[in-house]
Symmetry: C2
Subunit: 199 residues, 2 copies
Amino acid sequence: MPKIVNHQHRREEIADSVLQLVARDGFNAVTMRAVAKESGWSTGVIGHYFEDRHDMLIAALRRAAYLQAAQFKSTRTNSNNPLDRLEKLVISVLPLDDRRVALTKIFLFFYAEAVQDETSREEVAEYLQNWRRVITRTLAEAQSLGLMSAATNPDTAAFHIVAYADGLASQAILDPDVLERMRANPEPFINVVLDSIKR
Amino acid sequence: MPKIVNHQHRREEIADSVLQLVARDGFNAVTMRAVAKESGWSTGVIGHYFEDRHDMLIAALRRAAYLQAAQFKSTRTNSNNPLDRLEKLVISVLPLDDRRVALTKIFLFFYAEAVQDETSREEVAEYLQNWRRVITRTLAEAQSLGLMSAATNPDTAAFHIVAYADGLASQAILDPDVLERMRANPEPFINVVLDSIKR
């Protein structure tokens, strides 16, 4: 009997290896050969799942977005306090570990590509819109519990918070000053978000 | 007598043409031929000033940064009110006209490159540090005039404001929802900055 291979699972496993490579060495390090080495599969197997380098980078982008969405979901399950969740949602995108370094780096690659390519731009815009939706929902809940000023529009505030968190994540990758500050004391970076909606 | 050519001036003129191309068609549109057509010079003249496509993109990055610095300087000259200047400084980076669309797009290209290339990363980090320095100076002045809470650290606030403005500029290029909102009413985007330091 032939062995049953879970192709979806194997694709994800290889995408995880691509993300590991991106976190450690950047997206230029992503080649069939390097991904084969990182994942422990042969280049033949990798070639079966991915057409080329760009195909692997897209898989890594989607995997990073999927892992991020799972993170959003677990935040929702683990706390009833929406402000506590808002804090965790912001922290979950800041590049403070390998998963989040890979997330930011792969998004920086596709942000540049989105300037040129409408398909990439649409995909990136969709992720940004989903992210804002999660934040808007959390803020609306905070407001209904009286934890946020009634004068603040959750939808508008979500635009600000997502722009801030996104800029912060990118700059932490680009400028060690930002990363060091964030690592030494993330509190002011979180407080600026919380303060912006409480009053 | 041979004609005296101002090489520095001609380089800048060509870099401006590169920025025009980037604003209109993105950085993939930057080729020797396209820049020759855009600037009205022959590809021979372009080749005299720039080695290759990447060389032209670097010139465009530096030109965009120079024009942005000139903008910062004129803001300083044109108003004595530091909060008024802070508002103009934030608006000056948002992609609401060709100059600023080109600025954001060329930076998105080099943000991605900075993930891979240490020289680009250092250059990008230096621009971010300069930008924060301008904001910090403006905030310190606002504070000395009693226009900003004495409890707010200008240096820390500059980190937040620059992250926010940068994220906002990128997202306006990536997601039409952000650009439309900003165009329809830039006030909430500015107010969130002013509110964050006033109280």
